[in-house]
Amino acid sequence: MAHSGINILFAGQNFTRLLGGLWVSAKISIVSLVIGILLGLLLGALRTLKNPVLRTILRLYLEFFRIVPTVVLLFLFYYILPKNFNVNLSAQIVAMLVFALWVAAEMSDIVRGALISVPRHQKEAGMAIGLNGPQLYRYVLLPQAVGLMIPATINLMTRVIKTTSLLLLISVMDVVNIGQQIIEANRQVYPNGAFWVYGLIFILYFLLCYPLSAWARHLERRQNNNA
């Protein structure tokens, strides 16, 4: 065939369309990460309290999101909940919601782990000068835990970004979905277009995630050196 496969990327608006799709993935990641991390901080702090009821509920919340694959969650929130309850959200909103809840769950575990690894005598030293519960978290525990949770949090970020590749299942026009459109539209002209399109998507994801991973590793190394 006369057409070299790489041209598929530059025909018409294809390249811009793919970047547009990437932006959708990025936008969903960013929004869900911001909301999820904030919520996760709160839930993680709550999980270190002694209240057994609260603990059980939050534990179940975590387990639910840990056990149910993302694909199922997306289906559940996009198709099943609207059918049974009267809420109808757009695909992007659902994606953000599902990811945010998932991030919050994973984050709550990271936060909890970091909080309880702040040495006990730090907490006691805070109590000994009369700080109350919220003040303990605000001034002593959280600031010290933040350093411990940053690398794990960044790893979670890359996982979220990578998981956006499943969004085509609920009709989000993300980069994979647009890639799919381009591949199928050109199947006759560029039978091997798929490799170029997927190759580009591969690189795009790498470009999004690699800086984050490198940053996480840098922070981790710095922490180990300080320890």
Partner: protein, 245 residues
């Protein structure tokens, strides 16, 4: 006799099934220095922690300044402003500067004015010889410096009673002196203190009374000089011998 600052009656403490403290009775007079001695694991730290509510206990009555203490979170949080405590491990908050460590309690717990609290903090820092370290972070300090700051942090709340749990145990020998100096000054200023220490020479010098604990029982509660010259129990004698190797 004047009202004692702290009175402990029939205090019992267990961890789960393990009985740690047995029928503790203890009186601490205002302005006196009590040294708590006893072998490792005898319950010294546990007792001292019960006295400012870091551990709860099963039964017994505490009376502070003539007021019975109802042991709940609220009471303790109030009371801890009057009862300062310094631990063995360096426990400054690593995320705050020296000054912020000291001001946290006065500003956030006692809601005092920043100017006034800071003035007091600087004065205290001067007294322990660390006026230049206001803006340092704990990691930039030596162990002995950290412990002196920890003492200042407790004092900044203007407590009536200070608890010290082996505050020199993790220090290099050369650092010990500076910290003990601070404690000695406090004693001279008639601060009421309860001190756990392994520095026998220091204990001998400073103790108005010695409480000797073994396996959670108070075996002796004797005036300081008498204890070191002539302990009442054989166990205390053996303990004293083992200490001056």
């Amino acid at each position: 006799m004047a009202t004692p600052l702290l009175q402990v009656e029939h205090l019992e403490k267990s961890y789960g099934d393990v009985h740690i403290l047995h029928d503790i009775n203890l009186t601490i007079a205002t302005g006196s220095v009590t040294v708590l001695l006893g072998p490792s694991g005898s319950g010294k730290s546990t007792l001292i922690r019960c006295l400012n509510g870091l551990e709860d206990f099963q039964s017994g009555q505490l009376t502070f300044s003539g007021q019975p203490v109802t042991p709940n979170a609220k009471t303790w949080q109030q009371l801890r402003q009057k009862i300062g405590m310094v631990f063995q491990s360096y426990d400054l908050f690593p995320n705050l500067t020296v000054l912020d460590n000291i001001l946290l309690g006065p500003l956030k717990v006692q809601h005092r004015s920043k100017a006034e609290a800071q003035e007091q903090a600087v004065k205290l820092l001067k007294e322990v010889g660390l006026a230049d370290y206001q803006d340092a972070y704990p990691r930039q300090l030596s162990g002995g410096q950290k412990q002196r700051i920890a003492i200042v942090r407790a004092l900044a709340l203007n407590p009536e009673f200070m608890l010290f749990d082996e505050v020199t145990a993790s220090l290099d020998p050369e650092m010990v002196r500076g910290v003990l100096e601070v404690l000695r000054n406090l004693a001279q200023q008639k601060m009421t203190m309860l001190v756990v220490t392994h520095e026998m020479n220091f204990a001998r010098e400073i103790a108005d009374q010695v409480v000797f604990l073994e396996e959670g029982h108070i075996l002796e509660q004797t005036p300081g000089q008498q204890f070191f010259a002539n302990p009442q129990t054989e166990r205390a004698q053996i303990f004293l011998n083992s200490m001056d190797f």
